[in-house]
């Protein structure tokens, strides 16, 4: 298959680029410093990035995302095809795949896993498989997924963490009555087809893993992956401590390097400062309902929103808050999202234009408005403190209100907030998820902003059935055009994932969705 060959090539090219000189070496244990611990290692019922981003080490999906997040590559299925009508997917399972307990993966496991993932009673991710009708296995090596309607995202969906294949027998042998209770037990000692096996988990402080002896993929030397003998996660919440431990050699890698330290670590000869392209976008979300709590809302005025956009100096924010690491947004979705369109920064800083727009608006003398941020979050604080200054110039008095996450979410969902800081990372290699939350009003009222655009809603619904990738890209291009010009956000910037590694670490990467991939990681011995 063509897709397969291309994907395989790109992996080789990437690894080749990373390790042009030396050949992969085997053995060793890598210690990776994380900012916080995982909570719940069940692909279907988890709800946090701290789980999602490491789960690929234990569980794998039928299809996988390429390192750049733009294409798909074979996972537990070696090839796949979608029928003409777009409502049936046929997948060939990889032969000889075993779970980490040594039992072979069967079609029964696949059918059970996908049915569990699509069950509307299970977790918050089942919408990803909403189009799936039935999953069957005509023979021991084939899976057929019948859809209720043509779904252009189905292949990408089969690469999302919640569609990972789990061992049915081992799961059902767990104590407990309900699926949730069994999952709670199972998640303590996950069994999957991934490259690593969890051997101990000291909550809040460390996770220890050894290589999965039964892992199916082969390394460059023809022997089974992973190259590492073991992998440790050490939880070090304090940024400065995590960096110090990396510099002193206690750990081999550290995630979430604060932007303020990136420049300094780039200059450190003992450190590889990596900036993996991410789908992380930062913006300000505005409530655009005509009234909030019974009072007229200036943010409902499109001219006001545009004025605020032009008065927000994104280049300055990138410098002050991300120390030059981020890049101004060219669309509401990150540029590493498939079908992203737009090539120049949105609303480049132009104070005169902003003042002119304010003068034309219903609020020529400005107004007072509040913004919700998360207490203690330095990025939020930096952004809003700077915006407070920038908007002063057009007569807007911004009041910063720091609250905890639950309070913020509450006001957000109730639609009683005025403005808030926002951050988003995609969970699927497709523009549909971010668009449904940001722009498509039936999902959550376009980020609970109350913004609604009939054309966007119609285009999005069409795009969810459009099987022609070119036409679908056009639909998304138009959605982005409308949203970017008139939407309820101040698009700020997108940022990569800053990871600092010891010089001896090779072949580690984080995909744009955030997943940490250690499968082909190796250490200079």
């Amino acid at each position: 298959m063509k897709i397969v060959a291309a994907a395989a090539l790109s992996v080789t090219a990437l690894l080749g680029g990373l390790s042009a000189v030396s050949a992969q070496e085997r053995g060793g244990v890598m210690t990776y410093g994380r900012y916080t611990d995982s909570l719940f290692l069940d692909p279907v019922l988890n709800d946090a990035n701290v789980d999602i981003w490491v789960m690929t080490n234990f569980y794998e999906t039928l299809i996988m995302s390429s390192p750049d997040g733009m294409t798909l590559k074979p996972g537990l299925a070696t090839e796949w095809s979608v029928n003409e009508a777009g409502d049936e997917v046929t997948l060939k399972l990889r032969e000889g795949v075993k779970f980490s307990d040594g039992t072979p993966m069967t079609t029964e496991d696949v059918i059970w896993s996908l049915n569990r993932a699509k069950n509307p009673d299970n977790g918050i991710w089942n919408f990803i498989l909403a189009s799936v009708d039935t999953v069957t296995a005509p023979d021991a090596g084939t899976i057929v997924i019948k859809l209720k309607y043509p779904d252009p995202t189905i292949l990408a969906a089969l690469s999302v963490f919640n569609t990972a294949i789990m061992p049915k027998a081992a799961f059902e042998a767990m104590p407990g009555e309900t699926d949730a209770e069994k999952a709670q037990e199972f998640g303590k000692h996950p069994i999957g087809t991934g490259p690593f096996v969890l051997t101990s988990w000291d909550r809040g402080s460390s996770m220890k893993m050894t290589r999965n002896e039964y892992y199916w993929a082969k390394g460059a030397d023809g022997k089974p992956l992973p190259y590492l003998d073991g992998l440790n996660f050490e939880v070090i919440p304090d940024d400065a401590t995590r960096i110090l431990k990396l510099q002193s050699g206690d750990i081999d890698g550290a995630e979430f390097i604060p932007f303020a330290r990136v420049g300094e670590l780039k200059a450190d000869p003992n450190i590889k400062m990596e900036l993996f392209p991410g789908t992380r976008v930062w913006d300000i979300i505005m409530n655009v309902r005509p009234e909030i709590n019974g009072k007229p809302n200036p943010l409902a005025d499109e001219k006001v929103r545009q004025a605020m956009n032009y008065a927000a100096n994104k280049e300055a924010l990138v410098q002050v808050v991300t120390y030059g690491v981020g890049t101004p947004l060219t669309s509401f979705m990150a540029s590493s999202t498939p079908m992203h369109s737009g090539d120049k920064p949105l609303f480049p800083y132009d104070l005169e234009k902003a003042k002119a727009l304010m003068a034309e608006s219903g609020y020529p003398d400005g107004f007072k408005i509040s913004i919700l941020t998360i207490a203690g979050n330095q990025d939020d604080l930096g952004i809003t403190t700077a915006l407070q200054q920038m908007w002063k110039a057009i007569g807007i008095d911004l009041e910063i209100r720091q609250v905890d996450n639950a309070s913020r979410t509450e006001q957000y969902r109730a639609g009683t907030f005025e403005m808030r800081t926002g951050g988003w990372t995609n969970d699927i290699s497709d523009p549909s998820q971010i668009t449904s939350y940001f722009a498509y009003s039936p999902t959550i009222d376009a980020l609970h902003s109350g913004w609604k655009n009939a054309e966007v809603d119609k285009l999005f619904e069409e795009s969810q059935k459009e099987m022609d990738p070119v036409k679908r890209a056009e639909q998304f291009a138009r959605i982005q055009e409308i949203f970017n010009a008139t939407g309820p956000t101040i698009p700020l910037y997108e940022t990569p994932y800053p990871v600092a590694l010891s010089q001896k670490v090779n072949g580690f990467y984080q995909i744009p969705l955030g997943n940490n991939i250690f499968t082909e990681t190796w250490l200079d011995q």
Binding site: Q184, G187, R203, S205, D238, A240, T241, N405, I444
Partner: protein
């Protein structure tokens, strides 16, 4: 004595119940619910409702409280909403860390305060006395988070004598990790202790029986030691009992600054995360801890000085 202890423990029950009701009401008054805290920006109404239903949060408050009290009575504190672990396991994990931190802080406070108090008391009115008393005032005015930040930067990040936070593995490593945080926490306690000891020592020196002993030719050092040390111990123990609440408040901040996985930090995180079972369970645990501390300090005082007995 046994009936005294029994009475004290019985008194604990209404206190704990009262705190529980306050805390139970308080955390449910907080805007937002566990589902909002869990889901954050992804929160869709249907998911929020389903999760709250699964957690039994759609039932009336009185019913929830009843269910809670019933399960507590059977020794079950429920499971953490976020960490999916039994609350009892969490408490068993985190509370010892906080206890160790506060006990270390108390010991360090004593070690810092006793010699200084002796110097100040014996050299009353001299420069040494003024210096010690000045240090006392500074100690009282020093915010825990500020002192912690400075110690962390100087002795952790710059000089690298101590780890920059965390808890470590194994007892010795734990002691090493908790040293700077304990010093931070000990600072203001030692200041108060020093002041109390100083006046206690002066009181003993001036007391008639010491003067009498001296006039009889008893070695002054011995006299001082016997009388002063006992008095010092009594006031230290009493003070520790009184300060336990302040120490625990300080521990919340210290654990935040030094990234220590302790009970104080867990409490604040759980309030933020609306993790009701953990907040409730920890409230009980802390109330019991504080009450037992009160009881123990009372008993030790009685043991040291039978006159205190009621």
């Amino acid at each position: 004595m046994a009936s005294y202890i029994a009475r004290r423990l019985l008194q604990l029950i209404p206190t704990v119940l009262f705190i529980l009701i306050v805390v139970f009401a308080l955390v449910r008054l907080l805007p937002g619910d566990p589902a909002s805290a869990i889901l954050g920006d992804r929160a869709v109404d249907a998911d929020v409702e389903r999760i709250n239903r699964e957690l039994g949060l759609d039932r009336p408050l009185v019913v929830q409280f009843g269910v809670f009290v019933k399960s507590v009575a059977t020794g079950d504190l429920g499971d953490s909403i976020h960490l999916k672990l039994p609350v009892t396991t969490l408490i068993a994990d985190r509370l010892p860390v906080t206890i160790m931190l506060t006990v270390m802080a108390a010991l360090i406070a004593v070690v810092m305060a006793v010699p200084l108090a002796f110097v100040a008391a014996l050299r009353r009115g001299t420069a040494a006395d003024s210096t010690v008393r000045g240090a006392f005032q500074v100690g009282l005015s020093m915010p825990v988070f500020y002192l912690g930040l400075i110690l962390l930067t100087v002795f952790g990040a710059k000089l690298r004598w101590f780890p920059v936070g965390g808890y470590g593995e194994g007892f010795v490593d734990n002691l090493y990790h908790l040293f700077l945080p304990a010093v931070t926490l000990a600072f203001s306690l030692s200041a108060i202790l020093m002041r109390n000891l100083r006046s206690a020592i002066i009181g003993v020196i001036d007391a008639e029986y010491v003067q009498f002993a001296r006039s009889k030719g008893l070695a002054p050092k011995l006299v001082l030691f016997r009388h002063v040390l006992r008095n010092a111990l009594i006031s230290t123990v009493a003070l520790f009992g009184l300060s336990i609440g302040t120490l625990l408040s300080g521990a919340v901040i210290t654990e935040t600054v030094f990234a220590i996985p302790g009970a104080g930090r867990l409490m604040v995180d759980s309030i933020y995360g609306r993790d009701y079972p953990v907040v409730q369970g920890l409230t009980i645990a802390l109330a019991v801890l504080v009450s037992v501390t009160f009881l123990l300090t009372d008993l030790v005082q009685v043991w040291l000085d039978p006159r205190v007995s009621r």
